[in-house]
Symmetry: D2
Subunit: 267 residues, 4 copies
């Protein structure tokens, strides 16, 4: 792990991007060799207000960046549209992509998988870089084999518009894969006030709390006669994603194929 990994980054000025710059700068064996940014062609990162003091060139033309820079890993923190174009360029240049988006279509994923195979170049696409959240979902799926009953409570700030959260629904779906379909709770239970028992995903109940003061939290509670087992992930800052990005960069160096989801990089 002590050999230096040379990194290209697309999207250095976004919230995630600037955190990624800090993470790269703070990691001894990571080296930023350049960035792709639609603005600031010809400048260096350290010349941009608010970005860390790194002497790496910025290219507004992605093609040019991939032609000129000599990188091991390409991190994309832009958007699905640009990310898709960048990712193909990276694979074609045998630079391993680490991509944080859930926005690619099935067709796009298939194409990238094929291209990774053709080029024998590793790629990691991660819809969620929060390692704690990924572990929460993985542990939930494991626990579901031994506990018949589970409910999910997710708590977010009250600016969040949708309920339940995508993570809560995904957790329920992962659990559903490993258990026999069944309704939970007493068969004769009654709601005296509608909604009290939450949303129902294949018998599992999901509850969404929306309060100022919360950022993003989820607890998955397994119950059985005489015991409960609870797995709780609490996210307080987007810095939490950076340990996942770092992990993905290190892992993509060890593979030559397509991986979707950090959970598939874990032992």
């Amino acid at each position: 792990m002590t050999e230096t990994i040379n990194i290209m980054l697309a999207g250095p000025r976004g919230k995630m991007g600037s955190e990624a710059l800090n993470m790269i700068e703070g990691t001894d064996h990571f080296q930023l060799v350049g960035c792709v940014d639609r603005k600031h062609q010809g400048k260096t990162i350290k010349e941009i207000d608010g970005l860390p003091d790194i002497d790496a060139p910025i290219y507004s033309d992605a093609q040019e960046a991939f032609d000129r820079l000599n990188a091991d890993v390409f991190i994309d923190l832009t958007n699905p549209e640009s990310g898709y174009v960048h990712t193909k360029l990276a694979l074609n240049h045998h630079i391993r992509p680490v991509i944080g988006t859930s926005g690619f279509s099935e067709d796009q994923l298939d194409e990238l998988k094929q291209l990774s195979s053709d080029k024998q170049t590793g790629i990691v696409i991660a819809p969620n870089f929060a390692i704690g959240a990924v572990l929460m979902m993985r542990f939930s799926q494991m626990a579901a084999k031994y506990f018949d009953s589970v409910e999910i409570i997710e708590k977010h700030h009250d600016e969040k518009l949708d309920a339940p959260s995508g993570t809560a629904v995904k957790t329920a779906q992962l659990i559903k894969e490993v258990r026999d379909s069944h309704q939970q709770g007493h068969p004769d239970e009654q709601e005296s006030l509608p909604g009290a028992r939450g949303a129902n995903v294949d018998g599992m109940h999901i509850h969404s709390v929306r309060l100022p003061g919360y950022i993003a939290q989820q607890e998955v509670i397994f119950g059985q006669s005489g015991q409960t087992l609870t797995i709780n992930h609490n996210s307080t800052d987007r810095k939490s994603f950076m340990s996942g990005v770092k992990f993905a960069v290190e892992q993509v160096m060890t593979i030559d194929h397509f991986v979707y989801g950090l959970e598939n990089l874990m032992e």
Copy 2:
């Protein structure tokens, strides 16, 4: 508090009753002088299988019990019907009643209040003897003056048929008394799965979890920009009621009027 309090108990063989006998026996300044029980006329408590070794007589005729026994406090742990008759007998004998039921009608409560006043005899009627639950509700009402947003999560075993719990609804109603009516959460929030946001009591959301492994738990969560304040009561055993009964017995000795709810005995 070191002067002995002489106690009569109705309902010694019920679950609550037998816990009360243990509590009385374990309290130095409490003395059981006799019991009312529809069975076992003429026996003593220690002669009944499963009850503690107390040499106190049992009367099946309540009138006779009140005529013969010299008590300071009368505890009723039977049912609303018998309890109502017993309570009037107690007040008429100037014996202070401590009654644990939520089953009296408004008319019955009014009548007992008048009788307490006529006889200048203190009486405590407590629908909930769990001191922790009473404090939770009281603190919630206090916190609501300083926090605009609150949600309630109550968790019970999956044999419970009704949702939300009576305590959750009562907590919301107590909070409602002290705040301006308003809806919480984002005005544009959407449930992609119905019920996710729980039941709605005047803008407050209530979530009911039903899982084996839980007994009875409630958390009241207040949120505000940058902070949350949570009050959590967890009941694991009906022994929890006995500290409330003990508190009520001690307090009823200090009053000469009608009190409804332990919260009104607290400073």
Copy 3:
């Protein structure tokens, strides 16, 4: 509460100060009339980089500020030294001070109390503006009358050097005031690893967790046979102090005397 309150602020560029500016700007019935700042004499707030768009003059000479500005309330978010000088100036000008520091000496507090009385001008000094924390301590003191056993767990980021936290120790001291001194836990309990049972304040145990990912959290757990009652305050952002500042500003308008601690403004 709809009459406008005119406010002076000292320390507008500090972290707390700039949050206070946002709070004042976001509150309809608050009006900023001017600031005291050792820099930027003669400018207005909106001319300072990073501060909100408020057209209020800055004075570097506090005496001049108090002479020229017509304010109802003076908020000081500087430091104990400047704060002490400012507070006396404010009282002498019959402007009600709201001061957030725990750094005044007993002598200074006595002097300010006397001056407040002489000038018949209300003043609030609050060592803690987090309303949730103040309520947590208040509820803890109330619950301690009904529960003999309590432990405190406080959780902070791992940059915090001291353990236990000042709030945890203060909470224990407040509880100590209202209960008979006694040791908790089993008399024969043994630590097989030293420190397992935490710090001991008059029989109450305090546990300090230090982990990255936490900001500032404290739970106070009361236990009794069959039940626990937990009060948990979680602070995720210094914005949490602003509801306390706002509350103090509104309350100081209703008093003409010296108050120390937000808890003494609560009903």
Copy 4:
């Protein structure tokens, strides 16, 4: 899983034993064929006061029981001394043992392992039958690969004499196996009150709460910049062990070797 498993049980009158009888009776594909009990030779289970209505013979002589009964699995819920004798008898009769004790010596374990191998008969020895606790430890070990910092809080009733709990120490040891040894917290952190930071196991801090109202609870908290991941196991009743016993009985039917710990039966 629908083929009936014939079960022998030693220790039917103990707390665990009687729960095991209920579990066997409540499981369709389990059949009790007889019990070993030092009392009640010649009676059947249903003749013993307080035991369920099962018509299975009791033997006080274990040798005789193993000679006469035709069982697939032998469950021992007695004590290490008897358990050791019984287990050897079971293996010699090619009856698969499921043993719940942590009291066997290394020599005894080696001998049983050899005997299992010689007889090609599966055996499960489980020091902890609480599946939730086993999963908590397993998940903790997995999470430790991705989180450098962890603390453990265990909460028990105040009748417990030792601190920290055996489960907490074992959890720390399991984590220690998979991480580089390092101290946590700030290098300059100071305890102003001794014990505040808890016990220290190879840099991990363990905190032991002892309060009435708790039964047995443990939370393992992993922290990282911007996120925490918490795994919490709460045991409220010894019934919680029975799902583990049931799981072990089902699994022991599928193996022909020695397994120590339920975690080694999990996928």
